[in-house]
Amino acid sequence: MALTLTCPICGKRNGYEFRYGGEDKGSRPDEKGLSPADWCDYVHMNTCTAGVQKEWWFHRDGCGAWFSTYRNTLSNLEVDRPEDST
């Protein structure tokens, strides 16, 4: 509940206002030649990073934007950038 997130439209807001949208896994794969296992991995598998990960959030009680941001899953705080680029 201590989480705050920075919406690209509304700015830094209380974490209560947002809905988590999962890890950033890249855009939907092409259906052509897609094996069932690959599809399943795309939809259901997560890396569950212990550290900074890029992830999607939805500003449910605000502007209604989906945006991606970085969060440190160990401290549950939003961070500016991924760890290796600091």
Partner: protein
């Protein structure tokens, strides 16, 4: 008991009396009294009986740090009476008492302590296993604190408030107030939290000198006045901080005053920086019978006199270890308390002025002495004092023993914020090693006690808090720090833990009746870490949250184990102070949306149910089978309020791409003037929504969703197109538009009378979409649907016009005897047609193919990457899936309940919806069954909870049950 009156420090108003009921008697207190002080003023000395041994317990401290004074107040158990202001008419009861609190029939247990060594209940009463349930009942009856009735409903109003601040100051003592004032000078928003009903901290009642001719209490009032009059400082009194989280999120709860709109409220503060100035509490002195009524802490005795006008006793002995004890002895002597003797643990380091003043009053001071035992079985009558080594003893009669070993900082807020704290040898305090980001501590808790040093530390903390958020620069901080460094620094603290005693009746934790002997037993059994000893002996696990043993336990363990490493405190967790669950639960508003027709639906006899976020009319008759409503639609004409339907406008250059992604059908084939029924799946192919899509123009679409999905639709569309950067817009029109459904063979005749357009079957055929006006004014979007299986128009009308259109239809239909119908009637009507409602004919695992809606899916539009298409392709050949089938009961008089199981030796499916159909006279329904059972003619056995093992018989039949060719809706 006579009150001392007319002090400037008093917090009671002796002109305003308050009465309370205790043990059948009405007692008087004053406005400003706490329940505990009012009882004390009325001569009550024993407040409760202890958890295990039923020992008498009395007033020991005034901040609710032990369960001694927890009582039942107005039916609520475990109320901390020291923190609860007296209200007129309160009914107070003592807890854990068999008989009366003065003559407890269970008091003999105190003599049986040898039967109950540390952890005895872990070792006994579990062999054989059957013993435990019996023993548990007996123990729970004999031990414990308050009891509550299972039917008890908490009274009062509970609220919550969410605040933001630039600086949040926890603690309204001198340092906290200085920090707040310093920060507020820059114009930032400051919040001060104070757990007592007034600001001032320990200066509030102290008469020691702040400066010449200015006592500390006068300075405290001066500061409090400044704080209260500063417009950018918001002060929350009677507000206890209970939690600290990431990002400096502080939680607290506030007790309402009599004129507040809340009884208690949850306070959550998001602060840019935080100053913790929670000060110190006293570290209890441990000796034999150290919790006997009549033994109390220094501040307790001093505050009783100075804040509540109560001399705590007649003749007192002091056993203390710090100058505040000397100061209190002096002040209480001047107020009329006889002081037999002051035993000070310290050999040296006293304030010379205080010693001289005590000598002037001929009060004997014994240096290097300590109380070893309190005598008297219900109240102190005599004290044994001893030298620290225990070799010389003296017995002194008295009725009050003021005892305190030293002080201990209230570190809870810092620890909750993940601060590592370490033992400091000089002060004897646990002090922070490194403070968290944007959190600063100030005041007494940093080890300082000199008044100017306290204020200076508050100032420094205030400036640091500002610098941390970029309001001032570091130079101001450095200057203030330099000034503060010139003032007296951290005091040397008294380190004594226990008097020279064996410790059989020396209590380290009052709440849990844990003695020094218990701790020794635990250590001798091999527990060497305070955290483990705490759990094994339960010391510090009571309602006082470690207030009494929090500091002494690690000190004693370190001493007894002769450990070379420094004492380690036990963990602190939120909530720091016991909080009512009702406060966390909050107001619990019942919030539901109402349709634009709510009032007229109600007037029309609607019986409402809460469905999702809406209140909807489910029945229009006391007959919940809705026979009349159903037959009226089948044979005549009925009106339904469907305003809860989700309604959206989707437009923009990429709107079609979005529709292609989300809907399973090919939306490029949409034609204007026609409706398209389609469905949305999730990535597993499971159906999440169905509805109508209408093309109103180029790149401009109007779609409906089911009522329950309306709130998530925008999120769902945007989520699945979040990587694509498509240009399209969505407008949620759910609340802006209402929907009226007019159904039945006479529907056209009624609508024709008010519509400004030709609505004949030729001009407006089935599955058509038209926009026209009513009375040349009201814009209506009309579609011809067949959900209920009759000639039916669905009219989408701006909400503000809904009532008008409804009234016009009612008037136009009067000659046909038009009637309302509700949700239940609609439910049966559509079931007879085999039309599904998502959530009723489907659950989370049900995919598009299971429902027989595979025809909606266009498998050629792979480029659209339609959500669910990949999974559907994989599910196509899966034989292990459920299928939606029609069922007919063998006994037409007995339809199973929705959700009844279909079984043989295993569960094979379940009934989705089943009703007695008044139209066909059959008991029919829809069920999800394993695909092997889905062929027409398959026999099904249905199990219900109350069926007494007699299963209902049914068989699979083709759907729909009514008008299979769909002629009636195309009329």
């Amino acid at each position: 008991m006579k009150r001392l009156r007319q002090f400037p420090t008093l917090h009671i108003d002796t002109n305003e009396t308050r009465s309370l009921k205790y043990r059948g008697k009405s007692l008087q207190g004053f406005a400003g009294d706490t329940v505990a002080t009012a009882l004390y003023a009325n001569g009550i000395r024993i407040f409760s009986r202890s958890l295990k041994y039923h020992r008498p317990r009395g007033l020991y401290n005034l901040d609710g740090e032990s369960s001694n004074t927890c009582m039942e107040v107005d039916g609520v158990p475990n109320v901390r009476t020291e923190n609860t202001l007296l209200k007129d008419g309160m009914v107070v009861k003592a807890q854990n008492v068999k008989g009366s609190v003065d003559h407890d029939l269970m008091a003999f247990i105190d003599k049986l302590d040898w039967l109950m060594p540390a952890g005895f209940y872990y070792k006994t009463m579990h062999k054989p296993a059957a013993v435990w349930p019996v023993a548990m009942k007996a123990i729970r009856k004999a031990a414990g604190v308050g009891t509550i009735s299972a039917d008890y409903k908490v009274k009062g109003r509970y609220d919550e408030i969410f605040l933001t601040a630039d600086v949040c100051v926890i603690g309204g003592g001198a340092a906290g107030m200085m920090a707040a004032l310093t920060a507020a000078e820059s114009g930032v928003r400051v919040i001060v939290l104070e757990s007592r009903p007034h600001l001032g901290g320990c200066w509030d009642y102290r008469t020691g000198a702040y400066k010449e001719n200015k006592p500390l209490f006068a300075r405290a009032r001066e500061l409090a006045g400044q704080v209260e009059n500063t417009s950018n400082i918001r002060v929350f009194k009677q507000t206890s901080m209970v939690g600290a989280y990431n990002n400096n999120l502080i939680t607290a709860f506030q007790v309402g005053k009599s004129n507040d709109a809340f009884t208690e409220r949850y306070v959550e503060i998001r602060s840019k920086s935080v100053v913790v100035a929670t000060g110190c509490i006293e570290r209890p002195l441990i000796f034999e019978n150290n919790e006997r009524p009549g033994v109390m802490q220094v501040a307790c005795a001093h505050r009783l006199a100075r804040s509540y006008g109560l001399l705590p006793g007649e003749a007192a002995v002091f056993s203390i270890g710090h100058d505040l004890g000397l100061e209190a002895a002096l002040d209480l002597f001047d107020l009329g308390l006889k002081i037999r003797c002051v035993a000070d643990i310290r050999e040296d380091g006293h304030d010379a002025g205080l010693l001289a003043a005590l000598a002037e009053r001929k009060i004997p001071v014994l240096k290097g002495w300590v109380a070893a035992k309190a005598h008297g079985c219900k109240q102190v009558t005599k004290v044994t004092l001893a030298t620290l080594d225990g070799t010389v003893k003296r017995h002194i009669p008295c009725d009050l023993l003021v005892a305190s070993a030293g002080h201990t900082p209230v570190n809870g807020p810092l620890i909750l914020a993940q601060t590592n704290i370490a033992y400091d040898n000089h002060s004897g305090f646990f002090l922070p090693k490194k403070l968290p980001e944007k959190m600063f501590s100030a005041g007494w808790m940093t080890g300082r006690s000199h008044p100017q040093a306290i204020e200076a530390s508050g100032q420094v903390a205030g400036l640091k808090a500002l610098a941390a958020i970029g309001v001032t620069d570091k130079t101001a901080v450095f200057a203030a720090e330099k000034e503060a460094a010139a003032l007296p620094g951290i005091d040397r603290g008294c380190k004594l833990v226990t008097a020279p005693v064996k410790g059989r009746k020396s209590f380290i934790c009052f709440d849990e009746d844990t003695t020094i002997k218990n701790i020794k037993q635990a250590i001798d059994m091999g527990f060497d870490v305070p955290e483990l000893i705490k759990r094994f002996t339960s010391a510090g696990t009571g309602p006082g949250q470690g207030g009494i043993p929090g500091h002494n336990l690690p000190l004693f363990v370190s001493k007894y184990t002769a450990s070379a490493s420094k004492p380690m405190p036990t963990a602190v967790r939120p909530p720091l102070v016991p909080t009512l669950l009702a406060t966390y639960a909050g107001a619990h508003h019942h919030m539901f949306k109402r349709t634009p027709l709510h009032a007229s639906q109600k007037k029309g006899g609607g019986i409402f149910r809460n469905i999702g976020v809406w209140q909807r009319a489910r029945y229009f008759s006391s007959d919940f089978d809705c026979k009349d409503e159903i037959l009226n639609v089948r044979n005549n004409v009925g009106l339904l309020d469907s305003s809860t339907l989700g309604k959206f406008r989707i437009f923009g250059p990429d709107a079609l791409k979005a529709l292609q992604r989300l809907y399973v059908s090919d939306m490029s084939k949409l034609k204007q003037g026609r409706i398209k029924y389609s469905a949305m799946c999730n990535d597993d192919g499971c159906v999440i929504d169905d509805g109508i899509v209408i093309k109103r123009g180029d790149n401009d679409y109007y779609v409906t969703t089911s009522s329950g999905r309306a709130g998530n639709t925008v999120e769902w569309f945007r989520y699945h197109t979040r990587y694509d950067g498509w240009q399209y817009h969505m407008v949620n029109l759910t609340d802006a538009m209402g929907v009226i459904n007019i159904s039945g063979p006479n529907a056209r005749k009624v609508l024709k009378k008010i519509a400004d357009a030709d609505i004949s079957n030729n001009a407006f055929p089935f599955a058509g979409y038209r926009e026209f006006t009513v009375k040349n004014t009201i814009p209506v979007r009309a579609m011809r649907l067949g959900f209920v299986g009759e000639l039916s128009f669905e009219l989408h009308v701006p909400s503000s016009y809904m009532q008008s259109v409804w009234d016009m239809l009612m008037a136009a239909g009067a000659e046909f005897n038009i009637k309302n119908f509700g949700l239940e009637a609609q439910n049966v009507l559509r079931m007879e047609k085999g039309h599904i409602i998502l959530g009723q004919e489907s659950e989370q695992r049900t995919n598009l193919l299971d429902l027989g809606l595979g025809f909606l899916w266009d498998r050629k539009k792979t480029a659209a990457k339609t959500v669910g298409a990949v999974a559907l392709r994989q599910a196509e050949n899966d034989p292990g899936r459920f299928k939606l089938v029609g069922i007919r009961m063998q006994d037409d008089a007995r339809a199973p309940r929705d959700g009844a199981l279909i079984v043989d030796t295993h569960v094979r499916g379940y009934v989705a919806t089943a009703r007695k159909s008044f139209t066909t006279g059959e008991a029919v329904g829809m069920a999800l069954v394993e695909s092997q059972l889905s062929k027409p003619g398959s026999r099904l056995e249905i199990y219900e909870d109350e069926c007494n093992e007699i299963r209902l018989q049914a068989r699979v039949v083709p759907m729909p049950f009514y008008d299979p060719d769909g002629q009636r809706m195309k009329m």
